[in-house]
């Protein structure tokens, strides 16, 4: 379990540091596509909410962290 976490983190670090190139505003057409947002979609609002209720694990998704409702 620990090994898979370390491999995952190393992979994440590798792709985020080794191959970065500065992207200009006019080159961001694909990145600015509505499907490319780095967060949950708005239509997922209730979905995220029920997952917070039905699972003990929550957070790290830019949304609910556990307070504000009678959930876990």
């Amino acid at each position: 379990m620990k090994n898979s976490m370390i491999i995952g983190l190393l992979f994440a670090c590798a792709i985020s540091t080794s191959s970065c190139s500065s992207v200009k505003e006019y080159q961001k057409a694909r990145l600015n596509d509505a499907e490319m947002t780095l967060s949950n979609r708005r239509v997922q609002k209730t979905e995220t909410s029920f997952q917070v209720y039905r699972e003990g694990a929550s957070g790290a998704n830019g949304g609910k962290t556990g307070g504000g409702c009678g959930c876990n």
Partner: protein, 389 residues
């Protein structure tokens, strides 16, 4: 149809922010998200880990985003949101075991919030603050949050820090057979307990190249107070019934990673992974993959699959397994060990002339998902998002 007319009636006040920096408060966008959720299972915490978990929930959420530029040409965004959920729950009906349809069978939750943020484009910084409130019969919450974000010099990366605090009150609605007087009283008779949540959320997003961007997410969440629910029963090995009892402190640490990749001209790969751990002994791995395919520039289909493996809390045991010698105990299967699968598809439609020909109704998104947990719980959810801009 009435909704379409309502949305269309706002259209004259819409302003294109890319060409004109309005100092007048203008509508940026309005979103309506409506969902229907239904679940069923046979491990209700209200009846000690056995019994129906049947639940239906209708949720509506209206979010109005307004903006204005101030004298220093900083963009101020105001988000005004109100959500209303109405649910019926066969399990919470069993707070009174003799009831067939008691007062706890249905409830409505109302949760308004207001958020403000100010973006300084030259400096690449954003600051913000917000207030939230939530009210249902047995639970009230007041929330506050503060936000700070800073972009890197080349504007390809952004660091965000968000602090959140929720000051909640749980009404101590006890199972009827455990009440000293028996039977239902008025709401004021129940008494309340506090539950406080303090969360620090950090994230860093980075553009890797013209097709790939990633985000690292980390939360540190501390909860104090009454962290169980008073109407959750636990049956011991000797057959005696008790209220769920959980520690009054919980530290949660979720770490997330998101990567979105635009492959070719039509396919997008949206991926997400989260590792979660807390000091109740719960740990979990969650992986999510979504593949939006652009059928044409205005219509896309997004199949998705989410998998979670959760190792449950040390305080969990099923019906009639807990012993009287234990300090903490719960039979809530949401805190147990399980695997869960969630799959479905979303459809996004954003025609040039507007959805149904309404110019400012920019997009419509419909999404369906089926959830299957190895404990036997199954649920379905369908959601609709209408976006006016």
């Amino acid at each position: 149809m009435a909704l379409c007319k309502l949305i269309a009636s706002f259209s004259q006040s819409a302003t294109d922010s890319s060409h004109y920096q309005s100092r007048k408060l203008s509508i940026d966008e309005i979103n309506l998200v409506s969902s229907y959720y239904q679940q069923n299972g046979n491990n209700s915490a209200v009846t000690g880990g056995i019994g129906t978990e049947k639940l239906n929930d209708i949720s509506n959420n209206l979010d109005i985003r307004l903006f204005m530029f101030d004298r220093k040409k900083r963009k101020n965004i105001f988000d005004v949101e109100i959500g209303i959920d109405h649910y019926t729950s066969a399990s919470s009906d069993k707070i009174d075991l003799k009831a067939n349809s008691s007062a706890s069978y249905a409830d409505t939750r109302i949760y308004p919030s207001v958020n403000w943020s100010r973006e300084h484009e030259q400096k690449g910084t954003t600051i913000g603050a917000g207030l939230s409130f939530s009210n249902e019969f047995d639970y009230q919450s007041k929330g506050i949050n503060l936000l700070f974000a800073k972009k890197t010099a080349d504007k390809n990366g952004e660091f965000t820090a968000k602090l959140q605090a929720y000051l909640d009150q749980v009404s101590l609605v006890t199972p009827t057979e455990l009440r000293s007087g028996g039977g239902f009283g008025e709401h004021e008779d129940y008494g309340t307990a506090n539950r406080n949540t303090f969360a620090a959320s950090l994230s860093y997003t980075q553009i890797i190249n013209t097709r790939l961007q990633v985000a690292f997410l980390a939360d540190l969440i501390q909860q104090n107070g009454y962290l169980g629910l008073p109407f959750h029963r636990v049956y011991f090995t000797d057959g005696s019934v008790h209220q769920e009892n959980l520690p009054d402190s919980r530290l949660k640490i979720p770490l997330g990673f998101r990567a979105n990749y635009f492959a070719g001209d039509r396919l997008i790969i949206r991926s997400y992974y989260r590792f979660y751990t807390d000091n109740w002994g719960i740990s979990a791995h969650t992986a999510d993959l979504e593949l939006p395919v652009k059928i044409n520039p205005f219509f896309s289909i997004s199949p998705f699959y989410r998998f979670t493996h959760q190792k449950g809390t040390r305080y969990f045991a099923p019906y009639e397994v807990h012993k009287a010698t234990e300090t903490y105990y719960t039979s809530n299967y949401d805190l147990s060990s399980f695997n869960s699968h969630f799959m479905g598809a979303g459809f996004r439609w954003s025609p040039v002339k507007g959805v149904f020909g309404i110019a400012h109704l920019q997009s419509m998104e419909l999404r369906y998902g089926h959830y299957n947990r190895s404990t036997g719980l199954q649920s379905n959810i369908v959601s609709l998002n209408l976006r006016y801009k």
